[in-house]
């Protein structure tokens, strides 16, 4: 895949770009190995909604590193047909630098033009399209809840803030439901706003702008839709000597967050001296 400047920040490949390109690559894998997403929806009344994802950035990939990136994908059914999982490796001239693991929940579509559906196991017709070595009995378990609990229990909160948003059509997929990588965009916007507001008081927060992201964990509870209003509730923490941000994306109705994003940065805070 040819790179362009829009995929990068000065620090490296944009996490949102990894999500979008990775999901596109997973769709290609499905099409080549089993059934295309389009056929799944149109012919098998089967859709997918993202439940959890994790991105690991082993090495920053910068725009000037290479003309091209290679994406390798592995897909599998898990949990007796209750999950579809894909693993994506992004390889630049410097080797494998970024990995994404995304797990979707299949939906049985009701057959209406809004593509409404409810969680359901993949039907036998769909399961037959996968090879035996592409079917894993054990379900995937998201590390996000445990990670959040550990941060809140053992970390030190440094600052918190709120960034409101409205979901617009360019942030949605074909059914006017938000496209899940937008959670990454909104979370990073919440972090940047928190840094802008609080960094004069807490200078260490500026590391979140100057150092690359090391790991991103996502968990989705309920989607946002076109023109839904919400807010990113962001908090910065020192945890295990590193800077971590927790973002809860909440709707105006309150209650449980619709999505959770946890960003971990590479730089260690311990012993840093700031003027």
């Amino acid at each position: 895949m040819q790179v362009d400047t829009g995929l990068f920040t000065p620090l490296g490949l944009q996490p949102t770009a990894v999500c979008r390109l990775g999901f596109n690559a997973a769709g290609r894998w499905l099409s080549e190995h089993a059934l295309s997403h389009r056929r799944l929806v149109a012919e098998y009344q089967t859709g997918f909604v993202l439940w959890t994802a994790q991105l690991i950035f082993d090495e920053p990939v910068r725009y000037f590193d290479s003309d091209c990136l290679e994406m390798r994908v592995m897909g599998r059914v898990r949990g007796g047909g209750t999950q579809f999982e894909c693993e994506v490796e992004v390889d630049s001239a410097r080797g494998i630098t970024t990995r994404m693991r995304a797990c979707c929940v299949p939906l049985r579509l009701d057959g209406d033009p809004a593509l409404s559906g409810a969680p359901a196991r993949l039907g036998s017709g769909v399961m037959e399209a996968f090879r035996p070595d592409e079917i894993e009995v054990r379900p995937h378990r998201s590390p996000a809840p445990g990670l959040l609990a550990a941060i809140l229990r053992d970390g030190t909160e440094l600052a918190r803030g709120m960034t409101p948003f409205v979901i617009h059509r360019h942030q949605c997929e074909v059914a006017d439901q938000w496209y899940w990588p937008e959670a990454v965009s909104l979370a990073s916007g919440g972090r940047e706003q928190l840094v802008r507001v609080e960094s004069s008081r807490i200078p260490v927060l500026r590391l979140a702008l100057s150092t690359p992201l090391r790991r991103l964990d996502l968990l989705f509870n309920r989607p946002f839709f076109l023109f839904d209003e919400g807010a990113v509730l962001s908090s910065a923490h020192e945890w295990q000597g590193c800077l971590v941000f927790v973002h809860e994306l909440v709707g105006v109705e309150g209650g449980e967050p619709r999505a959770l994003a946890i960003e971990q940065f590479t730089t260690r805070l311990s012993g840093r001296v700031w003027n």
Binding site: S116, G117, A175, Q177, F227
Partner: protein
């Protein structure tokens, strides 16, 4: 009563988020709404004329199941129509 439509259903009501409907019950209001917005009909109702289970209906903030759509509702009441999740 006011029927509020949001999100993925907006394109089926010509992007009108709030529509006033005069009807004696919640179910009757949904039927009238679908009659007035034909694109909404196959989205909201299945072939047997029942409200699809993939939609959530709220009367003044209280979620109703399909058996409760006979609840009476008047001018001061508000019905929210939500699609829980889409498989796009």
């Amino acid at each position: 009563m006011m029927v509020r439509v949001s999100g993925a259903l907006l394109r089926f009501t010509d992007y009108r988020p709030v529509i006033t409907v005069a009807a004696p019950t919640v179910g009757a209001a949904l039927t009238k709404l679908a009659d007035e917005h034909l694109a909404l009909k196959p989205v909201l109702f299945d072939r047997e004329g029942r409200v699809r289970a993939t939609h959530q209906i709220f009367l003044n903030g209280e979620q109703l199941n399909r058996e409760q759509l006979t609840r009476p509702a008047g001018d001061a009441d508000s019905v929210d129509l939500l699609l829980a999740v889409s498989g796009g």
